[in-house]
């Protein structure tokens, strides 16, 4: 079964890719005798191998992902006012699982293998890669969990995931990335070293982007940072500046490794977000085939 995506592995399949000089030990069945006849030099013919896409999606379930300011009734699209467990707000984790489920569904429909992991300070659950029928249901079941009060340890999670991968994969990390950017850089560097491709999908809430509070109130950290009593209007400027700098930093880190980066707001529909993602992937695929 051949997939729609270009494999990162060059092999000897049906679609010619390039020539390379012969070295001792090469299989002489792949010698291009026509080239030998014209140039009296031995070259092997190489073909581009089209394989299935192994998509590994990692979903952040740390404490910060439990925040949401959007009404559940507005975001779910099902007409329900509350979640099955009775919540009235649409959390970042909800949005992340929705994105994950949608991407998984699309990949499975293309015959790709999809695996999903849920993590916080460590890998909590992992649905093994598969393209078998029923995989999407297993993925959805794996996502049916709740955020924990722990923070994110992306480095540890990456190590745990990489240990499970024996071939090159496309790794999608869906998180708010509220952690030290340097640790994120280190983790992504290890992924890059293993020649995997990565999509960073940073999920933020609209209120986190605007910090539009009018009244003074104490702020409790959701990952155990403690409580700060502050006038939000007084620190809004400084907050937005820090927030903006952090997002910009994450974006730059991703771009530095050549990875994709998506900033997703929980207040936006998934459709436009996924469409923009697919379109961008298609453009990249076409450009690589032409090249």
């Amino acid at each position: 079964m051949s997939g729609m995506h270009r494999s990162p592995h060059y092999g000897f399949s049906v679609e010619f890719a390039q020539h390379r000089p012969y070295v001792a030990g090469d299989d002489i069945r792949h010698l291009d005798w026509k080239v030998y006849g014209r140039s009296d030099k031995l070259h092997l013919k190489q073909y581009e191998q089209e394989t299935n896409l192994d998509l590994v999606l990692l979903v952040d379930s740390s404490g910060s992902m439990a925040y949401g300011s959007r009404l559940f009734s507005d975001a779910s699209g099902t007409g329900r006012a509350t979640s099955p467990d009775g919540r009235g707000e649409w959390r970042k984790f909800d949005h992340a699982t929705a994105v994950t489920a949608a991407l998984s569904y699309m990949a499975l429909r293309q015959g790709d293998r999809v695996g999903v992991g849920v993590f916080a300070d460590e890998l909590r659950t992992m649905v093994a890669r598969s393209s078998a029928q029923g995989q999407w249901r297993r993925v959805v079941n794996g996502l049916a969990t709740h955020p924990v009060d722990q923070g994110t340890d992306i480095g540890r999670v990456v190590d745990q995931v990489l240990a499970k991968l024996n071939n090159r994969c496309l790794i999608g990390i869906i998180s708010d990335f509220y952690e030290d950017p340097e640790r994120l850089r280190t983790a992504l560097a290890r992924i890059k070293h293993r020649r995997h491709d990565v999509i960073l999908c940073q999920v933020v809430d609209r209120l986190e982007q605007t910090f539009d509070f009018q009244d003074m109130a104490p702020f409790d950290g959701m990952e155990g940072e403690g409580r700060v009593r502050v006038d939000p209007r007084a620190i809004r400027g400084a907050y937005l500046e820090a927030f903006r700098a952090h997002i910009d930093r994450v974006h730059k880190i991703a771009r530095g490794f050549g990875f994709d980066y998506q900033l997703v707001s929980t207040h936006e529909w998934l459709g436009p977000t996924l469409a923009a993602f697919i379109a961008k992937r298609q453009n990249i695929l076409k450009r690589s085939k032409v090249g």
Binding site: D212, M222, A242, E268
Partner: protein
């Protein structure tokens, strides 16, 4: 700190806590927000923390100040004296002259005291609600009428209205001392926080203030001790004064009027002293003097004053026998009165004279039985009896007292005691004699004729409290003896023998003294009435000492010592014409001196006859006055009048007269510069007096106000601060200062992404 409305001020200041309480309540009401992007909040908070703290502090201080300023403005604190805010209250001490001179009636018919009251009320009217006032009457001795300063100024005004003139001298010195004491006492509560004004309201006539006696710098010392800022204000000196004629003295020739057969009661000579003060001195005028004794018909005489004549004495004969309204137990009031003039109070003077049917004289001597055929066989008691009662009609009764029979009742029944046998008197007897003398009795001591050695003078000196010294042995003065001469204090104006002063020289010449127990040292307060020609005292007189040794002479009582026994073996006095008048004068006048005067001058304490417990008014103002165990009023008597002294059983013991203080009634004007310098003495060196205009008394008080109407500036400051607070709060709240744009939009859209080339 004190406030006009302390409760309001306290409530206002309590409001300072309102913003704090609101702040705390608002903090508590906020529900915490669970926040995911906490790292950015913390980072922003750390970056803004110092700035936020400063802003909060500014807002808190501004809000608290607004409330505090409002409280201060509404409560109007008294801080001026402390120099913090200014505008504080004051304590005003009104020293109102209600001495005798305050009774002067001016040309407009208004009495000076009424003008003083109006000035005082004018001062009170200029005070505000934060001010307090105290009232001190200057009628001597100065009297604190309203002690602790009171803020009830209406009540103070009523007290001032109720003040009356006294008959005593104005006591500015005492008034200032009282004020200083109160200020010092009040200073413990509000040291330096209130200003103090001492206001002296007086005309400062001659009688109102003796400028020759400097005031003590009590106010200056007070300022130094307590830090109180004391001003001394005074009404202006009366430039004209007033013409005034006073009765300054009334006295009879005989201090005791004996009404028995042969007495002189029907024609008692009364001398009346008059004085003119003020403008009256320069005028020619006539004064009518009326003297009456009790209910008798007044005797009238006229005094024609020459221009420049200040004093005059007139003598009138009045019936002092009593029986009228003014008579009393052993006393009679003789009253001298002149025409009405500018000052009525000193137009009358009253004197209490003793009125007795007869004097009882006790002679302590050994009783001898049988007749005496020869003069040289007669003892001292016999000679004294003859001298005391030379004829049947003499108003003197003699009583023989056995030396061993001396007891209290016996001595209480006599007025005079002759001790002719001192060597036989027991120690208890001497003690009783001492008490008799101190109670107003006359004791005449003389040597015992038959004794060579005399030790009784020591016992007598102890009992009578005398520090004299008498020889113990009889001194023989030779065959011819020594002649007598008038003593230093025998025949003078008030001397014991003044009635026979003119003839005394001739009377003493023939008398020879052969023996005597001489006076070695006369002792304090004793004078020689008759001396020997060699100058040694022969008859001496003086007051007994008090019961407590070393406390001076008793106010009443008289002790006379005759150095020779009145027998012919000692002196030929009994056979000479001097004997009878000498004994008679010693008894009559000596008794008057010993009994003392029951006429007093207003402004001091008043004493009454022995065993009196209270004084009941007979004439004049006031009511009953209590007496202490010594028969003295516990307080000062300021009003003139006549009182009846009664004992615990209600029995009358005598009359007491209190007369106006004539010196305090001098109505001559004093120079303002002199008075100013005199008053300034109370403030010490460099002090100055501020004058009060009688037409606008409040002006001087108001001129001293360094008070700024702080309420208005405080309100304005509170308003300005409130506006500033609003601006600060708006500025610090960041409300509407920045458009809310999601960070993703700032980065280029809600969804931003891309792969590096």
């Amino acid at each position: 700190m004190t406030f006009l409305h302390a409760g309001l001020a306290a409530a206002g200041l309590a409001c300072v806590s309102i913003p704090i309480i609101i702040h705390l309540l608002l903090r508590r009401r906020r529900r915490p927000i669970e926040w995911a992007a906490m790292r950015f909040v913390i980072e922003a908070y750390k970056r803004q923390r110092n700035k936020l703290r400063l802003q909060h502090l500014i807002l808190l201080v501004a809000r608290c100040l607004v409330v505090a300023l409002l409280a201060l403005a509404l409560g109007r604190p008294v801080l001026e004296a402390a120099g913090v805010l200014g505008g504080g209250g004051r304590d005003v001490y009104l020293l109102i002259d209600n001495g005798i001179a305050s009774g002067v009636r001016g040309g407009d018919g208004v009495i000076a005291l009424d003008r003083h009251k109006e000035v005082a009320k004018g001062v009170l009217g200029a005070l505000s609600g934060t001010d307090r006032a105290s009232v001190i009457g200057l009628g001597g001795s100065a009297e604190v009428i309203v002690g602790s300063p009171s803020s009830d100024l209406d009540a103070i005004a009523r007290v001032v209205d109720g003040m009356g003139a006294t008959d005593s001298r104005t006591d500015v010195r005492g008034g200032i001392a009282h004020a200083a004491n109160i200020i010092a006492r009040e200073g413990a509560d509000a040291r330096g926080s209130r200003r103090v004004d001492v206001v002296v309201v007086s005309d400062f006539l001659e009688g109102s203030g003796d400028a020759a006696r400097a005031l003590s710098a009590s106010l200056a010392e007070l300022s130094a001790e307590t830090g109180a800022a004391v001003r001394l204000l005074a009404t202006r000196v009366s430039g004209e004064g007033a013409g005034n004629v006073q009765v300054i003295d009334v006295r009879t020739v005989n201090p005791v009027v004996l009404t028995g057969s042969g007495g002189v009661s029907k024609g008692e000579v009364v001398r009346v002293g008059l004085r003119r003060t003020g403008r009256a001195v320069g005028e020619e005028m006539t004064s009518t003097v009326r003297v009456r004794s009790g209910g008798s018909v007044a005797q009238t005489t006229r005094v024609r004053w020459r221009a420049g004549q200040a004093e005059a004495v007139v003598s009138l004969a009045v019936d002092a026998s009593g029986g009228g309204d003014g008579s009393s137990h052993g006393g009679q009031v003789i009253e001298a009165r002149i025409d009405r003039d500018a000052l009525d109070a000193d137009n009358v003077f009253r004197m209490v004279v003793g009125v007795r049917e007869a004097l009882r004289v006790g002679v302590i001597a050994r009783r001898r039985f049988g007749g005496f055929g020869r003069a040289d066989e007669m003892g001292a008691a016999e000679w004294l009896a003859l001298a005391l009662r030379p004829s049947e009609g003499e108003p003197i009764d003699t009583v023989e007292i056995e030396p061993a029979g001396i007891d209290g009742p016996t001595l209480a029944s006599v007025d005079v005691v002759f001790v002719a046998a001192g060597h036989l008197v027991s120690e208890e007897g001497w003690r009783l004699i001492g008490r008799f003398a101190r109670g107003g009795g006359l004791v005449v001591l003389m040597p015992s004729a038959g004794e060579r050695v005399h030790q009784w003078p020591d016992a007598a000196a102890d009992a009578l409290g005398l520090d004299w010294e008498v020889a113990r042995e009889v001194e023989e003065l030779g065959d011819g003896g020594v002649r007598l001469a008038p003593g230093d204090d025998g025949s003078g104006g008030d001397g014991l023998l003044s009635q026979i002063g003119a003839e005394l020289g001739d009377l003493v010449k023939p008398v020879r003294v052969n023996r005597m127990v001489g006076v070695v040292r006369m002792g304090t307060g004793f004078d020689a009435v008759i001396s020997l020609q060699d100058g040694r005292p022969w008859v001496i007189a003086g007051a007994p000492g008090t019961e407590q040794e070393g406390e001076g002479a008793s106010e009443r009582g008289l002790v006379v010592y005759m150095a020779s026994a009145p027998v012919l073996s000692w002196t030929d006095l009994p056979a000479r014409p001097l004997m009878v008048p000498l004994v008679q004068e010693i008894v009559r006048r000596g008794y008057g001196v010993a009994a003392g005067s029951w006429s007093f001058i207003a402004g001091g304490t008043v004493s009454a006859p022995v065993r009196s417990t209270r004084l009941e008014v007979v004439e004049g103002g006031g009511g009953s006055i209590g007496l202490n165990a010594d028969g003295v009023t516990s307080g000062v008597v300021r009003g003139g009048g006549v009182w009846r002294a009664v004992d615990a059983s209600g029995r009358e013991r005598g009359l007491v007269a209190v007369n106006p203080d004539a010196d305090g009634g001098k109505t001559g004007a004093q120079a303002e510069s002199v008075v100013e310098a005199w008053l300034a003495g109370a403030l010490g060196e460099g002090g100055s007096v501020e004058w009060i205009d009688a037409q606008d008394p409040g002006a001087a008080v108001r001129s001293g106000e360094a008070r700024t109407p702080w309420s208005r500036p405080l309100l304005i400051a509170a308003l300005v601060l409130a506006l500033l607070e609003t601006g600060f709060a708006r500025w610090f709240s960041y409300g509407g200062r920045e458009e809310v744009v999601p960070v993703g939009d700032v980065l280029g859209g809600v969804v931003a992404g891309g792969r590096a080339a």
